[in-house]
């Protein structure tokens, strides 16, 4: 991990290259994170992956739902420099486009880091985040005909109620 001043230097360097590409930083529990603008995520990750920073390995891409916080969604990229054994996290915050069924969108980084292909599919599968330019944007774990984005916070947990002696009156219709 870069330390806190190193993180600020990195953010300033990225902002000088592409103005407004880094919206903020966070340094907690000795973990460095850049809050990136989702519109320029490809420039940010491409720059971090090249010399001299050389975070060449994308160890994870995952999504998060921060409901009720705004912006609601985030895509997290965990980068690793294997020579220096140094990690950095890039968070791209995405706003919910609203109730009309529209999905949040962000550029795919599959051509920069091929490992992102399956992990972006997983983020699409569970959170309904669309990755523009992804070569194969299908669901990956849930059935192909599944409806809904099951890891979102407003998605019902599902399952059947479990009946114990103390709550059998509260569950309607369990003795059908």
């Amino acid at each position: 991990m870069p330390d806190a001043p190193g993180l600020e230097l990195l953010a300033a360097e990225l902002n000088s290259r592409t103005e407004g590409s880094i919206l903020g930083t966070s340094y907690e529990h000795r973990q460095a994170a850049l809050i990136a603008d989702p519109d320029s995520i490809r420039e940010t990750l491409g720059f971090l992956g090249e010399q001299p920073h050389s975070y060449t390995f994308l160890s994870s891409v995952h999504a998060a739902d921060y409901l009720p916080r705004e912006p609601r969604f985030a895509v997290h990229y965990e980068l690793l420099n294997m020579a220096r054994v140094e990690r950095i996290r890039v968070k791209a915050l995405l706003a919910d486009p609203g109730p009309g069924g529209a999905l949040p969108e962000i550029d795919s980084v599959t051509d920069l880091f091929p490992t992102a292909e399956f992990q972006e599919r997983e983020a699409y599968d569970f959170f309904g985040i669309v990755f523009r330019g992804h070569p194969d944007p299908r669901r990956i774990l849930m059935p192909e005909d599944y409806v809904g984005w099951p890891q979102r916070r407003d998605f019902p947990i599902g399952g059947d109620p479990v009946i114990f002696t103390y709550d059998e009156d509260e569950v309607p219709g369990w003795t059908r």
Partner: protein
């Protein structure tokens, strides 16, 4: 009974232990895990069944030859268990006729062997325990298409009227609940008509 080689989750480890030398299901003739469902007559659902797995399980079950039986092993395949969520089927009897539920998380190999023995008792003993009666599932035998034969009534256990001894089937048969045998109503009616005409003929000759 030969089980199909089919493990779903962690219960499959206990299922494998069932045939080890320590527990030795060979004592009861259930040790031959067949690699082909065509050669198996028992399906052990050993673990949680995710909704993506359902068509696979159902296809393996459909490929097994009659007669065939299903043991639901553990809490997850019987009721969903701790996985009360969007991804797991809440009880395998929503898509399969299950004969024996073995409780436990996971059940010990002894418990699974006990389930096999209960299934053996069920097969050799009272035929009214058979799952076709229990689930009103006549017409699902090999080679029959229940949806083409006029539809079957999908009912829960206990939906059979208590007073009626006959459960209608897609064909012209009915099931005698006491013996578990299919009674052919058409043949019975033809028999009755034949004996009636024979009686009339004898009356005629007598007169």
């Amino acid at each position: 009974m030969w089980p199909a080689t089919f493990g779903l989750a962690c219960c499959a480890i206990e299922m494998m232990a069932m045939v080890s030398a320590r527990y030795d299901a060979a004592r009861y003739g259930a040790e031959v895990f067949r690699a082909s469902p065509r050669q198996a007559d028992m399906l052990i659902l050993s673990g949680r069944v995710s909704i993506k797995m359902v068509p696979v399980v159902r296809r393996i079950y459909d490929q097994m030859l009659e007669p065939k039986w299903v043991i639901s092993m553990g809490a997850c395949s019987s009721s969903g268990g701790m996985f009360a969520n969007y991804a797991v089927v809440q009880g395998a009897d929503k898509f399969l006729p299950v004969d024996i539920h073995v409780p436990g998380c996971p059940p010990r190999p002894e418990a699974l062997i006990y389930g096999v023995l209960k299934l053996r008792d069920k097969i050799m003993g009272d035929p009214s325990l058979g799952w076709r009666e229990q689930y009103a599932a006549h017409g699902t035998e090999e080679g029959q298409r229940p949806w083409e034969a006029g539809g079957i009534e999908v009912g829960r256990a206990g939906s059979i009227p208590a007073d009626g001894r006959l459960v209608s089937t897609p064909g012209d048969g009915a099931v005698d609940m006491e013996s578990g045998r299919v009674v052919d109503l058409e043949a019975t009616a033809a028999d009755m008509a034949a004996s009636k005409s024979a009686a009339e003929a004898s009356e005629d000759s007598g007169a």
